[in-house]
């Protein structure tokens, strides 16, 4: 108990408190600017924290983590360019709401959802860590394959008008993800002798291309001088009614986020899409999803913030990072001489409790800072279009370069920009490609590991209980989505 009080005193020390707030602010801003992400902010800032007190540096990085998952939704909603991949799921509904004049409320809901999801994941982390860590350890190759396949069924939720086009986009993404090194053998595939291609198409530049550059191209093509958009963000704080309506999905998103967070490799982007699929199936007004539903903002935005707490669980209890952000956090802890692992909770509660308290604090302060920055950041939509376009282009270029200091990645982003533009133009959904590019390597890796384990027999997927459960869920969700979509597509089919 004394440790809990000490932890609270520690985080409320002026330096720690202000670093947490600063972290949230930096995270939100990096998240909001298309091209820059929280992961980049953490990677760039963590060397500067070497000389800081361990707790202070963790609090700063945790703040960035919390802010970064939320910030991108502001630009996704106001200018249709998601600041980070994890916010891409809210683009359709968010921008539709902006056009209806309800952009402010959409951002407000996104903020509240982020806080609810984040706090939910903190509670899960504090009370269920050992249990959830055990659960994560039950996942072997076969289980990973099935759960990844389940993740891919989210494709059906984001396929837009035509399923076959959604499947086409997803498979294209899976195919593009095979470029570069084989996950288990020392051989580089489809590199056509181009050296930088041998490491594969990096995910971040691809996403920057498909979202930011494609948007740049679209804006240029559709620009008309007379039309000076009057996107006004008036009311940001959602009213009780709006909050009540979407609260259900904030909790559901929280659960999805925590569960996806504890499984290494997937992260916020997948969590938000899976939650979007959940909203699509279970929303009160399913017909509104994709056309401006607050529920469809609440779910994904809660899920991506909840990933943070989920991903912290294997990182703290096993020393295994769940996503790129926790990987950097793990490094930052190790350089401070704190080795996360099964004994951290037994030996270093003096470190663990301040981390818990810090995560709660950063989520709570996200509520205030998030609301505070909405107006200034959403003014981005008021910048004259030509200037905004060149702003997006430059940050896209710098962002794709900075993710791995490779000028080649800028070219990758440009190519994906053109691809993304054409896909969008001709109604091929982009989201399935993005999903598939994240899940592709996980799918291949787990498939081939499972095949090695079983000596090539696919029966392994049907003999492990967890694997069977996820395969069944995957089958049921995809069938139900297809069925619903059919019913909606043909309003009055004969015989029904």
């Amino acid at each position: 108990m004394e440790l809990v009080f000490n932890a609270i005193i520690t985080i409320f020390q002026p330096i720690n408190f202000s670093l947490t707030l600063l972290g949230v602010l930096i995270g939100t801003l990096f998240g909001a600017i298309p091209g820059l992400t929280a992961t980049l902010a953490i990677a760039l800032l963590s060397p500067l924290t070497f000389n800081m007190d361990p707790i202070s540096s963790m609090l700063l990085l945790l703040g960035i983590y919390a802010g970064g998952m939320y910030g991108g939704s502001i630009t996704a909603i106001t200018i249709r360019a998601p600041g980070a991949p994890a916010n891409a799921a809210v683009v359709d509904d968010g921008y539709a709401l902006t056009l209806q004049g309800k952009g402010g409320v959409a951002i407000g809901i996104s903020n509240v959802a982020g806080v609810v999801g984040g706090l939910f994941s903190c509670i899960a982390m504090i009370f269920l860590s050992p249990l959830l860590a055990k659960f994560a350890l039950m996942f072997g190759p076969a289980e990973y394959f099935s759960v990844t396949l389940f993740g891919l069924t989210a494709v059906f939720a984001v396929s837009g008008k035509s399923f076959i086009k959604g499947v086409f986009s997803a498979l294209l993404g899976l195919l593009l993800a095979t470029v570069g090194y084989d996950p288990i053998l020392p051989f580089s595939r489809f590199n056509f002798g181009i050296a930088p291609l041998s490491r594969g198409l990096s995910f971040l530049p691809a996403v920057i291309g498909m979202f930011a550059f494609a948007e740049v191209i679209r804006l240029v093509l559709e620009y008309k001088e007379e039309e000076q958009q009057m996107v006004k963000v008036d009311r940001v704080v959602p009213n009780l009614q709006e909050f009540k309506e979407s609260f259900r999905f904030m909790i559901r998103g929280g659960i999805i986020g925590v569960l996806i967070g504890i499984l290494p490799g997937a992260g916020g982007t997948i969590a938000s899409y899976v939650s979007y699929g959940d909203v699509r199936r279970n929303a009160r007004h399913p017909e509104l999803v994709g056309k401006g539903s607050l529920e469809a903002i609440a779910g994904p935005e809660s899920a991506n913030n909840a990933v943070s707490g989920g991903a912290m669980i294997p990182m703290l209890t096993l020393g295994i990072p769940g996503d790129s952000v926790t990987a950097v956090l793990l490094g930052a802890m190790m350089i401070q001489g704190i080795q996360p692992g099964p004994l951290l909770f037994k030996q270093h509660l003096d470190v663990v409790y301040p981390i818990f308290a810090g995560m709660i604090l950063s989520n709570v302060s996200l509520l205030f800072i998030g609301m505070l920055v909405v107006k200034p950041i959403s003014r981005i939509a008021l910048i004259k279009k030509p200037l905004l376009i060149s702003f997006l282009m430059i940050f896209g270029v710098i962002g794709s370069f900075a993710s791995s200091n490779s000028i080649f990645d800028v070219l990758v982003a440009i190519c994906f920009g053109v691809l993304g533009f054409f896909m969008d133009r001709f109604d091929f959904p982009i989201a399935p490609t993005v999903l598939a590019m994240i899940l592709g390597p996980l799918l291949e890796n787990s498939l081939r590991q499972a095949m090695i384990t079983s000596n090539g027999s696919p029966l392994i997927f049907f003999t492990k209980p967890i694997s069977v459960v996820f395969l069944a869920i995957a089958l049921i969700t995809s069938l139900s989505m297809i069925y619903r979509e059919r019913k909606q597509a043909k309003p009055l089919p004969s015989g029904f």
Binding site: F50, L60, I184, P186, Q339, P342, P376
Partner: protein, 340 residues
């Protein structure tokens, strides 16, 4: 004009917030006097007169990256300049080393080298050789160990290898991608136990191997000792043997493979090099600075806290070690049928 002002406000907020960070985080306060590098003095090498660049081939925030930055920061203090760190990742390091080896040989580009440079060279998929670098120093060594899940039936290395001999290719051994460092170590072990054969389950990295061991998805795993202490102490993972010449400080009661009669010692390392052809005087300055930084007690303490296994080799010793190690890498890869 109004819009312009708004744009300014946004960017100002952004810049200001980052400015605050700089204040809060006390960056290394070694501001060099001034960057007066317009004319180079003819005789005595005026080096370094501007910030230097360090190419790190692993991603930011990972173990190798942190180790390189820590060493680099202390060396930079000795040099009176700073390093700009560039993480150029991909293709098992080949991309970054290619860029480093083709940088001007003026001492302003330093490459962080790791064991994988040897693997890449032996596999023949990259034109870069370790000989393309003039070596500066080695500063860590990472011995590997053989680990089993806590409740594994195998109590000793002998029992494990005997089982692998009895039922070849059924015991699952967790490694990182095939052909890499851990797989090579395991291949050497197979050869030493003549006739033992494992079934290899490759994982992305150490963290995944630890998870597979804790979750009993593999029968055994080869792993560096770094980061294993807690798992062993906790009882979820046991260590059977260390594949090194000497016992480790971390697990003093665990025998080495050599003690058990298997002549296998396989260690990974980290070091620094500069592009071949860098002037001797510049190299001497770098070597001295890195050596001094290595001997700095503050560095030693920080590195130990961060779990690094420090080990120093100067440029000559480092070169000798690599000259010895490289043929072994080739031969084990041949034995594992990766190269002919």
């Amino acid at each position: 004009m109004k819009n312009l002002k708004k744009a300014l406000v946004i960017i100002l907020i952004f810049s200001l917030s980052l400015g605050l960070v700089a204040c809060g985080s006390q960056p290394a306060q070694n501001n060099p006097p001034a960057q007066s590098g317009q004319s180079t003095a003819p005789a005595a090498p005026a080096y370094p007169t501007k910030p230097m660049e360090m190419i790190i081939v692993w991603s930011a925030g990972g173990g190798s990256d942190l180790a390189a930055r820590l060493m680099g920061d202390y060396a930079a203090k000795e040099l009176g300049q700073s390093f700009v760190y560039q993480n150029v990742t991909g293709a098992n390091g080949a991309i970054g080393w290619d860029q480093a080896a083709n940088s001007p040989a003026d001492g302003y580009t330093v490459a962080n080298l790791t064991f994988d440079v040897l693997t890449n060279q032996a596999m023949g998929q990259t034109p870069i050789k370790y000989e393309d670098f003039d070596l500066i120093m080695q500063f860590t060594t990472q011995p590997v160990g053989v680990f089993v899940p806590g409740d594994s039936p195998y109590q000793t290395l002998d029992e494990l290898l005997a089982a692998a001999k009895e039922k070849p290719e059924t015991l699952q051994m967790g490694t990182t991608p095939l052909g890499g460092f851990f797989h090579q170590a395991s291949g050497l072990l197979e050869a030493a136990a003549d006739g033992a054969k494992f079934k290899y389950l490759p994982f992305k990295g150490s963290a995944e191997i630890i998870a597979a061991l804790s979750g009993k998805h593999v029968d055994a795993g080869i792993q560096t000792l770094t980061g294993m202490e807690q798992h062993v102490e906790n009882g979820s993972i046991r260590v059977l043997a260390i594949l090194a010449n000497e016992r480790s400080k971390m697990f003093p009661d665990t025998p080495t493979a050599k003690e058990l009669g298997y002549d296998v010692a396989w260690e990974s390392w980290r070091g620094f090099g500069v592009p071949k052809g860098t002037p001797e005087e510049v190299k001497t300055i770098l070597e001295d600075a890195f050596k001094k930084a290595y001997d700095n007690p503050e560095f030693q303490q920080k590195a130990t806290e961060a779990g690094l296994d420090l080990y120093y080799r100067g440029s000559a010793d480092f070169k000798t070690m690599l000259d010895e190690q490289y043929p072994n890498v080739e031969s084990v890869l041949r034995q594992l049928e990766f190269i002919k």
